[in-house]
Point group: C2
């Protein structure tokens, strides 16, 4: 078995949620980096900017005025990739030219009225409000739509065009590729082993400890055994939970705690507001609400791009795009590094 | 059927090489962009730089001295992700903690002694030499290795740390995820339809024309019906060819021609040295050399990141990472734009 000290040799690891492999070449961290350097994240975002369309009371691109919100704030994306009324494109019938109708809605949700905070720096009760809103959205949009994707792009490096803390929700009449694959993998595992994949996984990781970053009585955040991004993590409840709206009040409080802890470690890693894309995966909704989804377990994926420093990211390019994901440090090395970081945020730490 | 003029509504398209779908939301190009802007590619690379480890006669990181090459030049990657002698990691046996041995070699191949040229600007006969070398590499490494991935990361935006024109070759004892998926899809199609998927596809596109960018008597370059990157293209021969070393002398000349034409259009699009990752996929090698690979057709994928201009790329982030690829213009729009660009390179054009 791979020991956490074998950091010298490449090997492959299996991702059971995607039925794919990742090439782990830890010794690659030794190579010098002469490539592209990113701009570090902006450290001085004003709390309120009259030109920022996400701030309370401001006017957006379509002329609508934001309410004077003091907690979370939800609105329709002004440039939605999914609209509720798209026509059916029909199909050419030829197997190589297949198309399908795509209908849905895209929403944006601000986490907080201030532009200069992030989830890691918000008060626990403010984070709980975000979680409650996520649960409401899954509940409401889930009555109609088959899949409701909640995701956050954080930082300019992740294509996020606005520093104001916010996430997006894209709901669709179809099951997108990633959850479709995850659904197949979890179902096959359940049929074979009689227990949900991620429930068995959480138990194993809680015992092994070497990939755990933070844990609470109800939650676990680990660098998964099959992580592809350098500091990728998987956040999941220890109890069998299908969807975020199934979480109890206590579990939501616990989730706010562990999110703050995990995101504080992320920010502390390079002492910057850590960029990432994250999102929630839970059992499908809409027509799937009445089906058996016992194979599912709620979880969030965090995919941060940085590798070496605040300005050097991992490029998932040539070999990764054409052949297979490859990583330059082991998941155990990444977990250890994150685990050993201070629990207090670098911005609030006393010197 | 989707007509090339329906650029207003989102729909899904099927990628038969990956068994996945892409969300096409053409109307998204209307949104303004306030996000990250890339540094445009460096326009003034010196022809020879005494500190560049890829130039003729220079010394590399490991102390080796490059020959005074005047054509292509091949050497072992000084920081290989794959090494020939990695130990077998063993496996924990648990289905959620599976690992496998990974062995291989990583090589780098310079295309030309000068740092200030690209394939688009090289002479046709110089490009033929690159193709001949690719064929030799598939032939030689293919006797031992199951998969030989030839790929080029071009431009700092694509994680390329050196402006000198070069590609990489990573050969492995395993079939990586992407070719494994493509192998499965091509095989299933062949079994069902009795003809190779990409051979049928090339015929259809050559007739339909709306996605063709450039074509010659032997080759075709199209923006595939299922393209995910804005200006992604697929380059393939019209004849049934399994591997690059099976190309005739005439077909190699034709390939040099069409590559120069395609890459010139790419450079002309935003009048910069166009960044991309590209790579070749052909029938597997090593133990697969004696098997029936009739379902395979040789092809190259070009994945360029730019969307709107020389400095605004498409971010494949949140929704794309967690749910599904999404594009902001139709493949037909992209093909038309590329097709209509001048055939002469902007750098050699007379004003
Ligand atoms: O080997 P290079 O060019 O230094 O590195 C580049 O290509 C590799 C193969 O696609 C990637 O793994 C690296 O992330 C990228 O920076
Ligand atoms: O909607 P935004 O934040 O403007 O856009 C960002 O997220 C989207 C969803 O992941 C991506 O499709 C875009 O490429 C990215 O720039």
């Amino acid at each position: 078995a791979i020991s956490s000290t074998d950091n010298e040799h490449q090997h492959l690891r299996y991702n059971p949620l995607r039925d794919t492999w990742v090439l782990v070449s830890a010794h690659r961290m030794k190579r010098p980096w002469a490539g592209q350097v990113e701009k570090p994240p902006e450290e001085h975002t004003p709390r309120y900017d009259p030109r920022n369309p996400l701030c309370p009371g401001n006017t957006r691109a379509n002329g609508e005025v934001n309410s004077d919100y003091d907690s979370t704030f939800l609105f329709e994306n002004d440039f939605p990739a999914l609209q509720p009324d798209a026509p059916d494109p029909g199909s050419d019938q030829h197997p190589l030219f297949q198309s399908k109708v795509a209908r849905g809605v895209c929403k944006v949700m601000c986490f907080h009225p201030w532009s200069d905070v992030t989830l890691s720096l918000m008060k626990k009760q403010e984070v709980v409000k975000v979680i409650d809103k996520w649960a409401e959205l899954i509940e409401e949009l889930g009555t109609t739509y088959l899949w409701v994707q909640i995701f956050e792009n954080k930082g300019a490096m992740m294509g996020c065009s606005n520093p104001h803390p916010h996430c997006q929700v894209w709901a669709s009449n179809f099951l997108p590729n990633e959850p479709a694959l995850s659904d197949r993998c979890q179902r096959a595992y359940y049929q074979k082993h009689g227990e949900p994949l991620l429930l068995q996984y959480a138990k194993q990781e809680a015992e092994k400890k070497e990939r755990v970053v933070v844990e609470t009585s109800d939650w676990l955040a680990v660098v998964p055994y099959w992580a592809t991004w350098p500091y990728q993590t998987l956040l999941l409840p220890r109890r069998h939970v299908l969807r975020i709206n199934d979480l109890t009040t206590e579990e939501r409080e616990g989730l706010a705690d562990i999110m703050k802890q995990l995101l504080t470690k992320y920010d502390n890693l390079f002492e910057i507001s850590f960029p990432y894309s994250m999102g929630w995966h839970g059992a499908p909704t809409g027509p799937h609400l009445n089906k058996d989804n016992s194979h599912w377990q709620l979880h969030a994926h965090y995919y941060p791009p940085l590798l070496r420093s605040a300005t050097v990211k991992k490029f998932m390019v040539g070999y990764e795009m054409l052949a297979q994901d490859q990583r330059d440090l082991t998941p155990e090395q990444a977990a250890e590094k994150l685990r050993n970081l201070p629990e207090e945020h670098y911005k609030t730490r006393e010197n």
